[in-house]
Symmetry: C2
Subunit: 330 residues, 2 copies
């Protein structure tokens, strides 16, 4: 597996960095009293989580930054790392304000929108202008590409915003967002490695680097997961969920696999759709469809233990990711 | 990923069969009152598990059998399936006697020994005589093989017995053995696929079939995991743990990767070693080293939630499996 060493070593090194840095950040966040402001409208049982420190995404952020330098990520992989970092920063500001102002909501809506859309537009324009990425996306099941032309930009912006917010919504149970996104990141890393091996072009070389970024993210998220599993010692906060969203967005965009993320990330879609349905139904009919949205709280309130919901989400994601791998013709 | 479809499809199909069969078996076991006889010497908190049905390994057994027929496993892969099945049967007898006699111990020691050694010897002799497997095993980090000659048989028997009993010992928390062994099976399946792709011989063709068996086992174990996660609706029993042990044994033996299982299966080794140390220490010094052996009970009694111990074991196994992949030169 020598050829795989170039991906496995970055993953292990980043994991090690994260595991070493973790306790330090947990102590720091505790000392700064950066505890989670638990949503007033979340499940009652979650109020016990009030004092768990948050902004744990900074563990992922720090370990990925160090690893990105050690392994010299460049070009596409560097932009992907910047995408993760920029979204992580937006999330961090949001988290930080929440804590300083001691309220459950952070950045103002327009600030979030400007931040999130701004980065998404930059990413879309980068891909659009990149000679290797361009405006074509892979159509599942076929060798064919679908050229979106100028529509690439709005479509890509929509996809990025959707991914970032879907990961954010899915972050609500101990270990949930981190374990589900580990599986998704691993899957796209494997797919990108396979794409890179199938060709011998400059694009393939850049994809190879992008796969290393995927490996680094995987290591960082797994290291965080080590502290985030039930009972969580720290939460990722928006810092973590937006950063992970930014990373996944760049990976699927640069590998032109945007059409596959709704399948691999089926549980992320479920989080979004459940919130939309719930809010829509309540506004239209004054009735709720789910006991609570996002969907994972619905399952929890139906009497499933938090860890069970998380485990189910992971199993479903593993199967969806296997199906996703079947759908790509490389 | 067309070339991977031959492995992914069997995994998904077996998973689907297992998920469909699962509730039926759970009801059957409940109706037959095949509840777990919880070890008197286990953690007190586990007494609540007294009424959870066991012999859940039969879900894996049934789905793997059906899938083995559907996907026409033959040669090496068929022997691997038989190895899993034979150990599953020994485990089933043990479970069955436990339940019928309403006591925590099943088969008599000599019966277990005859069964376990008998199958291990048959497997070792099969490998020894097989023109493709033979007496050489892969040395990590190098291209070199190590020819054990006639010593292959006792070494292989020891490895098989160790694996089977290690999985059995590791089966003590909801979802523990099933999730850890999923990761191990996935890893060896990937390694076997890589080995098979690297050559173009009859051995490579047979390894390809062995990888399909790995995929089928993975699907079966994941399907079982769906019912076994905390709070478990069913336990695998010895039926499951011995079957999984038999499957892993055949996979590492036939791919000549016996030397790698102690690394990938580091947590399995920890289970065995902790029991040996505990018993040895108590006999020699009348002192216990761990609060309880196997090691997972020690962590649990130190105040870690059952699900946390399981999650930690999985994270450690993922990292150990990544390291294992680095060690194989294919």
């Amino acid at each position: 597996m020598e050829t795989f060493a170039q991906y496995i070593i970055p993953a292990i090194v980043t994991f090690a960095i994260g595991v070493i840095l973790g306790p330090f950040f947990i102590k720091l966040m505790k000392r700064l009293k950066f505890g989670q402001q638990v949503r007033d409208d979340g499940p009652q049982s979650h109020l016990a989580k009030q004092n768990t420190p948050t902004i744990g995404g900074i563990i992922i952020f720090a370990s990925v930054c160090v690893a990105a330098i050690i392994f010299g990520l460049k070009d596409m992989a560097l932009i992907a790392a910047l995408s993760a970092g920029a979204y992580g920063l937006v999330g961090f500001l949001d988290d930080f304000i929440k804590i300083v102002k001691k309220r459950s909501l952070g950045l103002r809506a327009y600030q979030k929108i400007i931040g999130q859309f701004g980065i998404a537009i930059l990413l879309a324009v980068y891909a659009y202008n990149n000679p290797y990425i361009g405006t074509e996306i892979i159509l599942p099941f076929t060798d064919a590409k679908w050229d979106l032309g100028l529509f690439y930009i709005p479509v890509a912006v929509f996809v990025v915003i959707a991914i970032v917010n879907a990961v954010n919504l899915t972050d609500g149970l101990d270990g949930l967002a981190s374990s589900v996104s580990s599986v998704i990141i691993l899957t796209f890393t494997v797919l990108i490695i396979a794409m890179s091996n199938a060709a011998d072009t400059e694009y393939a070389a850049q994809l190879n680097d992008l796969a290393k970024f995927g490996a680094v993210m995987l290591g960082g998220v797994l290291a965080f997961l080590r502290f985030n599993i039930y009972p969580a010692r720290i939460f990722m906060g928006d810092t973590g969920s937006l950063m992970i969203g930014g990373a996944i967005s760049a990976m699927v965009m640069f590998s032109r696999m945007m059409l596959l993320i709704p399948i691999a990330g089926g549980v992320l879609v479920a989080s979004c759709v459940s919130v939309i349905l719930q809010v829509g139904s309540y506004k239209l009919r004054k009735k709720r469809i789910f006991k609570m949205a996002p969907l994972h709280h619905h399952f929890e309130l139906k009497g499933n233990h938090e860890t069970k919901v998380t485990a189910m989400y992971v199993i479903v994601t593993v199967v969806l990711c296997l199906i996703t791998m079947l759908m790509v013709k490389i």
